[in-house]
Point group: C2
Amino acid sequence: MSNIHIFAEKLRSLGLRPTQQRIIIYSLLFDRKDTFHFTIDDLQNILKNTSTKKISLATIYNTIHSLKDKGYLKEISINSEKTYFDTNISKHHHFFDESKRELIDLNDKDVGKIKIKKAVPGKKITSIEVLVKIANNN
Amino acid sequence: MSNIHIFAEKLRSLGLRPTQQRIIIYSLLFDRKDTFHFTIDDLQNILKNTSTKKISLATIYNTIHSLKDKGYLKEISINSEKTYFDTNISKHHHFFDESKRELIDLNDKDVGKIKIKKAVPGKKITSIEVLVKIANNN
DNA sequence: ACGTAATTTATAATGATTCTAAATTAGTGT
DNA sequence: ACACTAATTTAGAATCATTATAAATTACGT
Ligand SMILES: [Mn+2]
Ligand SMILES: [Mn+2]
Ligand SMILES: [Zn+2]
Ligand SMILES: [Zn+2]
């Protein structure tokens, strides 16, 4: 059973035709052990360097947005300069390394329980996310 | 002692000439009791509706960036659609109302102590920020 | 293989932000 | 008050990321 076939099935199960481009992108994003945090620009560069097949920028955007809409990617806003995507769609938090300007996952268990002592009338909490900025020591 | 004169002195003390445009913007931002969260677009609309003097978009950007660079405004990224600025420069957290798409301050004291149980070698924590998304009940 | 709809692609359009260079204004000295 | 100079404002152009368009290609059921 080749990975490609498995990815093709995954895509099909999402209602997305397993095109060559989607399989290449899907395997780049998900055929790895760890969470992958990336920008569209990152992805474009990696694809340029690792894939023989040229994938247009429009297709990169289309594919990422499809995967995001299907709930397979999370979008993360850290600053106005870049938009990040995250293959870890579970509830979790982040370190942001100000030096390398990259995200590192903080498991939900890595953060103590967060107590919110204020409520807004008529509103309920839908999510709580912590962003921990880090920089080089000294 | 008019407010305008006070604002003029404030600006001067920041190394910014108290021009008519800056005084108008400064008083709009800071002559209020509560924190003000806004986008450039918000500011432009408010100025259009409240000020007789027309202020160019370039000047709005210039002024906001000057104030941000001087540490009098904080920039906040919630999502990729808009960039928010915050007149509250103290360490604090936020509610983000998904319905109204607006920010509400969460005082540092309104959030229980946050314990980060993971460290990154060679890195130190420079800030911890919590974003609590809220939506209409039911 | 054929037909058709889905997808990809090059390219154009958009929108927010930044840049540019000319016009205006604020502060200084007379 | 007037003149001078540097700082600031401004309209408009440039840039950059993202989205839209519409023609070419591909996937897939028949
Ligand atoms: Mn990169
Ligand atoms: Mn608004
Ligand atoms: Zn993550
Ligand atoms: Zn705030």
